[in-house]
C-alpha cells in the first residue's frame, strides 16, 4: 500500500505534463478513468474536461494504472483481460512496457508481495516503478501471467492503441493494423487524432482503414460516415475487408447495407481472379516439389532403367542429414560417439554458424551422404541385377524397408524437428496473392538443381560418358569407358540428387522414417508421364501434374483430385505408352 501511494504521487506529476504536452491523448485517459466504454467522449467535451478536472483525471489515471496492475495478480483470464483493456485505453506511458511484457510472456505476478514484475532479460523489475527489485524474489513465488486466445487479441488491440503515435512508422503501421483487426470502438478518438497528424502515406492509409473498420460497425456513427467507410474498405479489397462488409451487425441502415453488399460483391469478383492466379502458383509450387522428388529418379530409373524403389529412402536420408546438421548447430558442436560406449569426441563449431546457414551446409553434405549410400547399393546389389527388372524392383524395395527400419532404430520412430531458417519463414503479398517464402525458395531451388543437372550431363566428361553408356553400353566399353564405374557414379548421382531433394522437403514435410514412402509413387508417376529417359519430360511432367492437381483440388477435393489425376495418367499412358516426350531412335529399342 505504501508503495502504491508513493507511485500515485509520482505518477500524478508525470501525467500532468503528459496532459499538457499532448491533449490528444486525453480522450483515451477519460475512457479509462472508470466511466466505461459506453460513454464515448467526443474530443471537444474531453478538452473541456481537461480544464475542469485537471488534477482529477491524473489521480484517477494513476489509480487506474495501479488498479489495472493488480488485476494481473488474480490468475484469472477475465481479470487479466480487464487489466489489459484498462491499460490499453489508459495511455499511461508505462502501459506499453507492461502489455508488451505480457505478450512476450515476461510479465510475472507476485501475489505474496501484491506487485507485478517484468522479467527484463532475467532481471525482475517492478512494473509500476521500473526499478530493479532486489533482493530478487524466489522463482517459486512468481507466477507468469498466462494468456489465452481471447487475451492475445485483447493484448494486440491494446498494443495497437498504445503505439498509434509511436515515433517508428513501422510500429505505427502495426498499431493501425491491430486496431483494424480489433475494431475497438474506444480507440476511435485516438485513431482520428493520429490520422490528423500522420505524414507517412502507408500508415495514413492503414489508419483510415482502421477508422473505417470502427465506423462501419458502430451503430452511433452517422450514415454518411459509414457509407464513406464502405468505400475505404472496398478500396482495401482483401479478405479482411470482405469479412467486415459481409458481417455487418443487424440493424444496420438499408443504405449502408446496400453499399456494403455491392462493395462485397465487387471484392468477391476481384478475389476470384486472384484465386485463379493463386491456384496457378500453388500448382507451380507443387510441381516444383514433384520435380525435386522425381529428378533423381529420372536419372536412376529414367536414364539407367533401374526400377529403384529405394529412391524415396534416399530423399529421407537427405532430410535426416538436414536434421543432423541442425542438431549439431544447436549443440554448437559436432559430437561423434560410438553408440553404447563412452568413447566419443566433440568438435566445436564456429559461433557464426547459425540455423540460417544450416541448409547451405546440409545440401552438399546430403548430396555426399546419399550419393555414397547410392554407390554402395549399386555396387553391392543392383549391379548383379541389371536387365532383370522384377528382381531389381524386389531387391530395392527390400533395401527401402531396411533403410527405413535402420533410421527408425537409430533416430527413433518419432518426427524430428527441422526448423525453417528465418529467410524461409513467413509470406509476402503480391496483390491478393500470398506467397510463402519456403515455397518460393523451393521453386527456385528445384529449377536450379534441374539446370545444373542438365548442364552436367551436357557439358562435363562424366555427363558425356553417362550418356554414352546408357545409349550404347557395348560401344561405350569399346572406346574405353569403364562402364561399371560409370554405372556406379550415375546411380550415386541420382541418389545424391534425391538427397538434396530431401533437404528441401524437410522444410515442408515431416522428417520421419516414412518420409520417402509418400513421394515414391508421385516420383514414378512424374517420370513415366514425362517420358522415361528424358529430363525435359520430367520437368514438364512435374509442372503439368502439379498445376492440374491444384486446379482440380478446389472442385473435387484432395482425395478425388488425386484419383482423377491417376485416372488421367492411366488414360494418357494408354494413348502414349512412352510418355510426353518419348525418346526416339535405335537406342531405346535395344
Amino acid at each position: 500500500m505504501h508503495l502504491i501511494s508513493f507511485l500515485a504521487a509520482s505518477n500524478r506529476c508525470r501525467c500532468k505534463t503528459d496532459g499538457r504536452a499532448a491533449p490528444g491523448s486525453l480522450p483515451r485517459s477519460r475512457g479509462r478513468g472508470g466511466e466505461g466504454a459506453a460513454a464515448r467522449p467526443i474530443l471537444a467535451i474531453a478538452c473541456l474536461l481537461l480544464f475542469s478536472l485537471l488534477a482529477g483525471p491524473s489521480i484517477a489515471r494513476a489509480d487506474a494504472f495501479d488498479d489495472a496492475l493488480t488485476k494481473f495478480l488474480a490468475d484469472s483470464y477475465a481479470d487479466t483481460e480487464a487489466g489489459v483493456t484498462a491499460l490499453g485505453a489508459g495511455g499511461d506511458a508505462r502501459a506499453f512496457a507492461v502489455v508488451k511484457a505480457l505478450q512476450d510472456g515476461r510479465l510475472l505476478a507476485d501475489p505474496a508481495g501484491r506487485r507485478v514484475l517484468i522479467d527484463d532479460g532475467g532481471v525482475p523489475k517492478d512494473a509500476a516503478t521500473g526499478a530493479v527489485v532486489s533482493p530478487a524474489p524466489a522463482a517459486a513465488d512468481l507466477k507468469r501471467v498466462r494468456l489465452n486466445n481471447r487475451l492475445r487479441r485483447a493484448v494486440e488491440a491494446a498494443l495497437g492503441a498504445l503505439t498509434l503515435r509511436a515515433p517508428d512508422p513501422a510500429r505505427r503501421l502495426d498499431a493501425a493494423q491491430a486496431v483494424f483487426k480489433s475494431r475497438d470502438a474506444s480507440a476511435l478518438a485516438a485513431v482520428e487524432a493520429a490520422l490528423a497528424q500522420e505524414t507517412d502515406p502507408a500508415v495514413k492509409a492503414a489508419l483510415a482503414e482502421a477508422r473505417a473498420a470502427i465506423l462501419i460497425t458502430s451503430p452511433d456513427a452517422p450514415e454518411a460516415a459509414r457509407i464513406e467507410a464502405v468505400g475505404t474498405l472496398r478500396e482495401r479489397g482483401d479478405q479482411a475487408a470482405l469479412a467486415l462488409l459481409s458481417g455487418l451487425p443487424a440493424g444496420t441502415p438499408a443504405t449502408v447495407q446496400g453499399a456494403a453488399d455491392s462493395a462485397a460483391s465487387a471484392i468477391r469478383n476481384r478475389l476470384q481472379v486472384w484465386e485463379a492466379v493463386q491456384n496457378a502458383w500453388y500448382g507451380v509450387s507443387l510441381g516444383s516439389v514433384l520435380l525435386l522428388a522425381a529428378i533423381g529418379l529420372a536419372i536412376t530409373f529414367g536414364v539407367m532403367g533401374v526400377i529403384n524403389m529405394a529412391h524415396g529412402e534416399m530423399v529421407m536420408l537427405g532430410a535426416y542429414t538436414t536434421f543432423v546438421v541442425q542438431e549439431a548447430i544447436r549443440q554448437k558442436a559436432i559430437s561423434l560417439s560410438i553408440p553404447g560406449t563412452e568413447i566419443g569426441m566433440s568438435l566445436p563449431l564456429p559461433a557464426a554458424l547459425t540455423l540460417d546457414w544450416s541448409l547451405a551446409v546440409a545440401v552438399p553434405l546430403a548430396f555426399v551422404v546419399t550419393g555414397l549410400v547410392g554407390i554402395l547399393i549399386e555396387r553391392s546389389v543392383i549391379r548383379f541385377l541389371y536387365g532383370r527388372p522384377l528382381e531389381t524392383l524386389l531387391a530395392t524395395w527390400g533395401i527401402s524397408l531396411i533403410l527405413q527400419q535402420a533410421v527408425r532404430t537409430g533416430f527413433g520412430p518419432t518426427n524430428k524437428e527441422v526448423s525453417n531458417p528465418s529467410w524461409m519463414s513467413g509470406a509476402f503479398e503480391i496483390g491478393q496473392l500470398a506467397i510463402t517464402w519456403n515455397r518460393l525458395w523451393i521453386v527456385c531451388f528445384s529449377l536450379t538443381v534441374f539446370v545444373l543437372l542438365l548442364a552436367m550431363l551436357r557439358f562435363t566428361r562424366l555427363g558425356l560418358e553417362m550418356r554414352a553408356v546408357t545409349q550404347n553400353r557395348g560401344m561405350a566399353a569399346c572406346v574405353g569407358i569403364r562402364t561399371a564405374r560409370i554405372d556406379a557414379l550415375t546411380f550415386g548421382l541420382g541418389s545424391g540428387i534425391a538427397g538434396i531433394a530431401g533437404v528441401a522437403l524437410s522444410q515442408i514435410d515431416n522428417v520421419s522414417p516414412n518420409l520417402g514412402q509418400s513421394y515414391i509413387i508421385d516420383s514414378f508417376m512424374v517420370v513415366v508421364f514425362g517420358g522415361v529417359g528424358n529430363l525435359w519430360g520430367t520437368l514438364v511432367g512435374a509442372f503439368t501434374l502439379g498445376v492440374a492437381n491444384k486446379f482440380l483440388e478446389p472442385f473435387a477435393g484432395a482425395v478425388l483430385g488425386k484419383i482423377a489425376i491417376l485416372v488421367l495418367i492411366i488414360l494418357f499412358i494408354q494413348r502414349r505408352p512412352r510418355g510426353l516426350f518419348a525418346l526416339k531412335g535405335r537406342a531405346i529399342e535395344a
Binding site: 489465452n148 486466445n149 481471447r150 467486415l244 520412430p413 519456403n438 520421419s512 478446389p554 477435393g557 482425395v559
Partner: protein, 439 residues
C-alpha cells in the same frame, strides 16, 4: 524361447559326444527341461500389440515402452496373485490383417491373460473377431469415434463425448465461434466424428452453410489450397474455427502452412483431436502459439501423480526430453484397472475378469479417479489446452469432475436409441425403443 533353444542345442551336442561329456550334457539338458515348465507356471503373460515398424510406429512404439515400464513396476511391487508378470511384445508392423494374426498368436500360442494394444480404429476392427472368438481381453487406449461396445474390449481412450463435443462447446462459449471447418483425414475416425459433430452443431442452431467439411488423404503434405480455402471460408464476417481430425503425419505440414500463411490462433483457432505432445515434438511451435487441442491428459498438468509418472518415464527411457501423452495415461489407468480386477477375481480367467472390471476404479494422473463403466468405457476429465512455445500445452479450460464415456452418440439417428450395458443387460447395443439387443 531362449532357454528352449539352448536346451535343444545342448541335446544335439550331447548326441555327438560320448562318456562323461554325454552324461554331463544330458544332465544339464534335463535340469533345464525341468526348470522350464516351472518357470512358465510362475508368470502371468500380458500381450502388447503395438506397431513397432511401419507408418504407425511413430505413435505406437511409445505405448509399448510405457507398458513395459508398468509391468516392470508391478513386478517390483511383487507381481500379481503371487506371480510375476511377463510382457509378450509382438510387432504387427502397421499392417491391419497382421494385427489379427498377431492377436491370435498372442492368445493361442503365448496364452496371454490380456492384451494391451491397437491404435487406429481399423486395427481394432480387424482384431475384434479374434478376441470374440477366443474370448480374451483387449485394452484399447486411444480416443476413437465411438459407436461400438464389445464384451471383450475395454476402451480406456476418449469417446466423442469426452473429447470432440466439449471442445466444440468451449469454442462456442469462449471464442464465440459461429462458423466451422471440420477438417479431417479420409478414414473412419474423422468421418464418424465429423458426422457426430455436424449433427451436434446443427442441433445447436448452426446453419448448414456455416459448416464446411473436408477430407484429405493420409500423409497429405501440400496444404496450400486447403489453408487458403480455410482463410476464404473464414472471411465471411463470422468468427471461424477449424476442428481438426487430421491424422498424425499430415499435421506437421498442415501447421507449417498455417504458420507460413499467417493464420494465427487469434484469428482462426484450430482445435485438434489427434495432436499431442508427441506429435508436436517434430514441429517448430512458435507460429502455432494458441492453437488448441482437446485431451483427457496433458503432460503439463501439475499434479503429484503426474510429476511422479513423468520422472519415472524419463528415467525408464533414459531420455530427459521424452514427452508423455494422452494414450499413455489411458494405458496407465487401464493397466491399473486390470490389475485390480484380476486381484478381485482372484484369477486371470477372462470371463471372471470381464465381470470384475466394470466398477473398478483407478486414479488417473490428473488428480481424479476414473471408473470402468458398464459399457466398458471409463470416466475421464476433459481438458482444453493451448499450444505453448515449448511444444507443451497450457490448460485453459477443464470440465467440472469426470465425464462418463458414451459408447453410442446421442446425436446420430442410427445410435441415439442404443445403449451398452455389460453388467445388467449383457448387451453392447441394446435398443431402448424396441427393448431388444442388437447382438
Amino acid at each position: 524361447m531362449h532357454e528352449a533353444l539352448r536346451h535343444t542345442a545342448l541335446r544335439r551336442g550331447a548326441g555327438r559326444l560320448a562318456g562323461r561329456m554325454l552324461a554331463a550334457a544330458v544332465g544339464t539338458a534335463l535340469s533345464l527341461a525341468a526348470a522350464l515348465p516351472a518357470q512358465a507356471q510362475e508368470t502371468i503373460k500380458v500381450g502388447i500389440l503395438h506397431s513397432l515398424s511401419g507408418t504407425m510406429a511413430i505413435s505406437e512404439t511409445t505405448l509399448k515402452d510405457v507398458m513395459l515400464m508398468l509391468i516392470e513396476e508391478q513386478n517390483a511391487k511383487g507381481g500379481l496373485l503371487g506371480k510375476k508378470l511377463e510382457a509378450v511384445v509382438v510387432d504387427p508392423a502397421s499392417n491391419w490383417p497382421l494385427f489379427a494374426e498377431k492377436a491370435r498368436e498372442l492368445i493361442t500360442k503365448d496364452k496371454v491373460s490380456a492384451v494391451f494394444g491397437c491404435w487406429t480404429s481399423v486395427s481394432r476392427k480387424s482384431v475384434l473377431p479374434v478376441f470374440k472368438e477366443l474370448n480374451s481381453i483387449l485394452f484399447y487406449p486411444v480416443q476413437y469415434e465411438g459407436e461400438e461396445s464389445e464384451r471383450n474390449v475395454f476402451y480406456t481412450g476418449a469417446a466423442p463425448n469426452q473429447q470432440a463435443i466439449p471442445a466444440v462447446d468451449y469454442l462456442m462459449k469462449e471464442e464465440k465461434v459461429q462458423r466451422w471447418v471440420l477438417e479431417g483425414t479420409d478414414y473412419v475416425y474423422p468421418r464418424t466424428t465429423n458426422k457426430i459433430l455436424e449433427a451436434y452443431l446443427k442441433s445447436k442452431g448452426v446453419k448448414p452453410e456455416d459448416i464446411s467439411i473436408n477430407y484429405t488423404p493420409f500423409g497429405h503434405s501440400d496444404w496450400q489450397t486447403r489453408v487458403a480455402e480455410i482463410k476464404r471460408f473464414g472471411s465471411a464476417g463470422k468468427k471461424t474455427a477449424v476442428v481438426s481430425t487430421i491424422n498424425g503425419d499430415a499435421n506437421v505440414p498442415f501447421y507449417k502452412e498455417l504458420g507460413n500463411q499467417g493464420v494465427k490462433a487469434t484469428d482462426i483457432p484450430v482445435v485438434a483431436f489427434s495432436v499431442g505432445e508427441e506429435e508436436l515434438a517434430g514441429v517448430d511451435t512458435k507460429p502455432l502459439l494458441g492453437h488448441l487441442a482437446a485431451w483427457n491428459y496433458f503432460q503439463s498438468i501439475d499434479t503429484p501423480a503426474n510429476k511422479a509418472f513423468i520422472d519415472k518415464w524419463k528415467a525408464f527411457t533414459k531420455n530427459p526430453k521424452r514427452v508423455s501423452n494422452d494414450p499413455m495415461e489411458a494405458h496407465v489407468v487401464g493397466f491399473a484397472m486390470w490389475v485390480k480386477a484380476v486381484e478381485k477375481a482372484g484369477t486371470t480367467d477372462p470371463d471372471k475378469v470381464i465381470d470384475a472390471l466394470p466398477g473398478t476404479t483407478a486414479p488417473n494422473l490428473t488428480g481424479g479417479t476414473s471408473e470402468m463403466l458398464a459399457n466398458h468405457h471409463i470416466t475421464k476429465p476433459v481438458f482444453i489446452g493451448e499450444i505453448k512455445e515449448d511444444g507443451q500445452f497450457d490448460v485453459v479450460w477443464k470440465t467440472e469432475g469426470l465425464v462418463p464415456g458414451e459408447a453410442w452418440s446421442k446425436y446420430l439417428d442410427g445410435s441415439k436409441d442404443l445403449t451398452a450395458d455389460w453388467v445388467k443387460l449383457k448387451c453392447g447395443n441394446y435398443n431402448t425403443k424396441t427393448q431388444k439387443c442388437g447382438g
